[in-house]
């Protein structure tokens, strides 16, 4: 019994934190721009394969490659905002289809230039080996990743609650017209949001890349997790996203360690979300505000 509890507690913390990192960006886009970013899946392969491209094609070391990839991500997000989101905000059917196509294009580009046999591997391991907490054994990489996730979320919360820009973004998420009236530069803040939400996703992907599988189609699986967390938490609410991440982490840990059926991990989260949506269609927290 003690072993079960230890494993469930440790893995709820670890998985929940990583899911939080992967889903925070999606939730914030939903909250601020009030769109359903179905192209979110492109960020994951672009992080891994973008970094790899700088390393293999230009021979850059890891850190400059990561910085180069972040610059590419920023440029792509601006193009997506200016070319798609801004133009087709009113016709969401076109927008969602276009965003899905963007994710597919990036996946296919990664697959064309670096197919699975190219052996893409990023040396982003921060710590080798494992930690043991009682009977629970966890890779050090994931523990460090969890701590980074919490720190990052804390920084985002601080930014949105305490800084002037953060408050302006919150105002924007509540009412665009009122925000314009009080002099908030909507366009700039939208673009700024599109760029800052990339950071947790990029960091999360780089941390999990040495531990979890890397392949061109990886984004879809991560996007589904991000959707589940964001929906469960109430689209765009950071508090809800934090609770939902740990709830899904808890569901996964229970299924793995109590029922001993890791096969049911994804299904358990999907069913949990569907049940909660039927009972409480707005999600766990109010989606009208970011915090």
């Amino acid at each position: 019994m003690g072993t079960y509890i230890q494993n469930v507690v440790v893995f709820t913390f670890v998985m929940g934190s990583i899911y939080l990192l992967l889903a925070l960006g999606f939730s914030l886009i939903c909250g601020v721009l009030r769109i359903f970013h179905l192209g979110y899946a492109y960020i994951f392969p672009l992080t891994v394969y973008g970094t790899w491209m700088f390393m293999s094609a230009l021979g850059w070391p890891l850190i400059p490659s990561i910085l180069g990839m972040i610059a590419v991500q920023f440029i792509v997000s601006i193009i997506i905002y200016k070319g798609m989101i801004k133009k087709y905000m009113a016709t969401e059917d076109v927008l969602l289809t276009a965003l899905l196509l963007v994710a597919l294009i990036i996946e296919q580009a990664a697959n064309y230039f670096y197919p699975i046999q190219a052996g893409v591997y990023l040396e982003t391991t921060l710590a080798e080996g494992t930690y043991q907490f009682g009977d629970a054994i966890v890779p050090k990489q994931l523990i460090i990743g969890s701590l980074i996730a919490l720190a990052m979320t804390g920084a985002f919360v601080f930014f949105f609650v305490k800084t002037k820009t953060g408050m302006a973004i919150r105002a924007l998420s509540q009412d665009i017209y009122s925000s314009k009236i009080v002099g908030i530069n909507v366009e700039t803040l939208y673009m700024f949001t599109m760029m800052i939400v990339l950071l947790p996703v990029i960091i999360g992907t780089l941390i999990t890349a040495p531990v979890w599988s890397v392949e061109p189609g990886m984004g879809w699986m991560y996007m589904v997790t991000a959707i589940l967390v964001a929906v469960l938490g109430g689209l765009g609410n950071i508090k809800g996203t934090i609770i939902a991440s740990f709830l899904i982490g808890f569901a996964h840990a229970i299924v793995c360690f109590v029922f001993g059926e890791p096969r049911f991990m994804n299904l358990s989260a999907l069913i949990l979300v569907m049940i909660i949506l039927v009972i409480r269609p707005q999600g766990l927290a109010r989606s009208e505000s970011l915090w």
């Binding site: 076109v94 294009i105 589904v224 069913i271």
Partner: protein, 346 residues
């Protein structure tokens, strides 16, 4: 007592309070008839010159036959379903499992595939009333993914990783080329049957009610339309029609794998047929089905390994430059009264 009345452009048949109209005026059916004749002759021509094209035509017909019920559902429920492939999975797995377990042929499995699709649609039909806003999109998006997970978990039943094999084929004349030709005609017949049926519904009184729901649900409700009834009928009917395509796939390929039809990538293809064809216009779905299937085939043939990358880029460009889809180019010349609107955020 049946009464017949000849008018300038139509024959009106009355039986009690019921009324049917048969359009005589050539300008109303000439183009449709010409295109129908072309699509009926094309497989026969391909049979002699390039039999491989029949396969592309079958794909085109089936894409269109999935997109048309989706268009009906979009209009009738007033919102966009992002997981129509769930019903392909239901119909396909029902047919496949029954065929493998009992050795049943397509005619025997068809009623069960229809029944199971209908039951599944009825179970999930309250979603069109309960789920609002982006949550409907999310729930419909998640449904096929849940089913896909189930196929991997219960792999001893669904064979989620490899797919089910050994399903009784749709037709077997002993000659593969002849089989292709007959299945080609059968797929065309399915496509035309769907086109006729859905077009009839949309032009009927129910179609008008659906259009009013599509335009404004609250207004439709306020003028006394039972919107819940119409939405559920549209949802269940369209889902069942999509389920039949699952049955077709299972018997056509003699195998069925959820991983082919249930992921987001297959849904994206259906969505593109719907959008590039003509933004939920029924005739546009046929145009979209043929365009997407033939473009894909041509690119595979001439572009080589870069095709998977160029194909979505071309479709993305078309999505932006054709505001009413390919059918909109025709519609501009021949104005139609009703243009459906696709609503995502309801």
């Amino acid at each position: 007592m049946v009464e017949m009345e000849l008018k300038r452009d139509r024959i009106v048949i009355r039986l009690g309070t019921k009324k049917w109209e048969w359009i005589l005026e050539p300008r109303y059916w000439r183009n449709t008839l010409l295109w129908a004749a072309f699509l009926m002759i094309a497989p026969a021509v391909a049979y002699f010159y390039s039999p491989g094209l029949i396969n592309t035509m079958i794909s085109a017909n089936i894409y269109a036959a999935i997109a048309m019920p989706l268009a009906l559902m979009t209009i009738g429920t007033g919102r966009m379903n992002f997981g129509p492939q769930f019903y392909i999975g239901v119909g396909g797995y029902t047919a496949a499992l029954l065929s493998i377990a009992y050795g049943w042929g397509p005619l025997t499995t068809l009623p069960f595939a229809i029944l199971m699709s209908m039951v599944a649609a009825l179970i999930f039909s309250p979603l069109v009333i309960m789920a609002r806003g982006l949550y409907y999109v999310l729930l419909t998006l998640l449904l096929p993914l849940v089913f896909l997970e189930v196929t991997f978990i219960y792999t001893d039943i669904f064979k989620g990783d490899t797919g089910l094999f050994g399903i009784v084929p749709l037709l077997d004349t002993g000659n593969a080329k002849n089989n292709f030709l007959l299945i080609g005609y059968f797929s065309t017949a399915i496509m035309f049957a769907y086109l006729w049926f859905i077009n009839k519904i949309l032009k009927s009184r129910y179609g008008l009610l659906m259009a009013s729901i599509n335009d404004d649900e609250d207004v439709a409700h306020s003028i006394g339309i039972n919107i819940n009834k119409i939405k559920i009928i549209a949802f269940v009917a369209a889902s069942t029609l999509i389920g039949i395509i699952g049955w077709f796939y299972a018997h056509y390929f003699s195998s069925f794998a959820g991983i082919t039809y249930l992921p987001l990538t297959f849904m994206l293809k259906v969505l593109l047929v719907l959008m590039i064809g003509g933004r939920a216009q029924v005739f546009g779905c046929v145009v979209g089905g043929y365009f997407v299937a033939f473009l894909e085939m041509l690119m595979i043939r001439f572009m080589g390994p870069i095709q998977p990358l160029l194909f979505p880029i071309i479709l993305l460009i078309l999505l932006f430059i054709l505001p009413e889809g390919l059918f909109g180019l025709y519609r501009k010349r021949r104005y139609r009264e009703y243009l459906p609107t696709i609503h995502v955020r309801r």
